[in-house]
Symmetry: C2
Subunit: 224 residues, 2 copies
């Protein structure tokens, strides 16, 4: 039984990798920078992304977002308040997004063409495990971690942090009441992924967001 | 492909259900009350459980815990500080515990016999999705949610909250800086699982813990 599962799993991942490679080359051709945001449920991905979309739009950037959840379109409605085009993906019981879901939801997205975008954000389903194994064709995978979650998350979920291109610490405005140990968190992230760019942010106060937005601008400049 | 996966998945869940039924009858025969704690990573399951183990031991109860994580034995070491026997289960990439893992780790657990226990706590891998589908033979499934996570989690992860016997809100000591909307959270939990017992707790201040410990005592009394 176990062997069959492993083989089937490899087959699924291989198929996903092929689809993701196709997406990656489409994103490159279209000139759109694609980011995949991964974290635990409740880390504050949506608040962080809402802030990011609003700021980028204020600078005149062309942005859009796909957002994954098992159920509800709460997040799409929240993000749409930024004015950016947002499309909800409901996975109905699946604990991660995969390349096929991205492909399907890009097709027939009214009023949105990849070639008209500078940034496409994909907010994954809240989960620190399975999204790590599914490439979505993104250029940048972002692992988010809030000050409320415990500093040892990178050690407990090494695959995500090891496969990430950037790490974002959220909710630093409540670091003190949470007793957040900043040095330990930074040490643990660096132990799993030495030298990764780390942003310490608050979507409530805006702390750390200028550095994050600067990183996005650099990443776009580097892309071409 | 999809059909084969669904069939295989059903097969796995069926096998798990059978193993779990066997565990459940062993737990009943041994007279041990078994609880399965499920939440997102970072909700504070370990702190909540550490408090619970310490208090129960102080009252002279015979308690033990199994704790699941992908990697590290950090949580087992933290929990062992309570003085209770604790055994770590490392799942190495699997995002939930299953009945087979419980069975294996009960066997050969030095110094611990089911018949010598009043309470066995199982701390699941931090994940709001997959643990919902895997029965571990527990009597009581507890869904935990922290004030930092967003009040709409029950709506977004209905399977967990719908299959839970009790809900625990953690970290209420930081409800205010987090802007936690208590009424909304209670409304959403009740929408998914009407009438479920809800405990509002803090492992830091001890708030809500007397009610939780009272519930455990009642559940044991009801068991026999």
């Amino acid at each position: 039984m176990t062997t069959r599962i492993v083989e089937l799993r490899r087959g699924i991942l291989k198929k996903n990798d092929e689809l993701a490679a196709g997406l990656r080359s489409r994103f490159l051709d279209a000139g759109v920078l694609v980011l995949n945001l991964v974290s635990s449920p409740g880390t504050g991905k949506t608040a962080f992304l809402e802030f990011t979309l609003r700021e980028l739009r204020a600078k005149g950037a062309k942005v859009a977002a796909l957002v994954g959840d098992l159920e509800t379109d709460n997040d799409a409605r929240r993000l749409a308040a930024s004015g950016a085009p947002v499309r909800q993906i409901n996975t109905h019981g699946i604990c991660h997004l995969d390349a096929e879901m991205i492909d399907k939801h890009l097709a027939g997205w009214e009023g949105v063409a990849l070639s008209g975008l500078e940034f496409l954000f994909i907010e994954n389903v809240g989960n620190l495990v399975c999204p790590s194994s599914y490439d979505l064709g993104e250029k940048i995978r972002v692992a988010l971690l809030s000050v409320t979650e415990g500093e040892d998350k990178p050690l407990k979920y090494p695959t995500l942090f090891n496969s990430a291109d950037a790490a974002v610490i959220t909710k630093i405005d409540i670091a003190e009441p949470c007793g957040f140990d900043r040095e330990l968190a930074l040490k643990n992230i660096n132990e799993i992924r030495p030298g990764i760019r780390i942003f310490e942010t608050s979507a409530k106060t805006g702390a750390g967001m200028p550095e994050w937005l600067g990183y996005l601008a650099e990443a776009r400049a580097r892309r071409s």
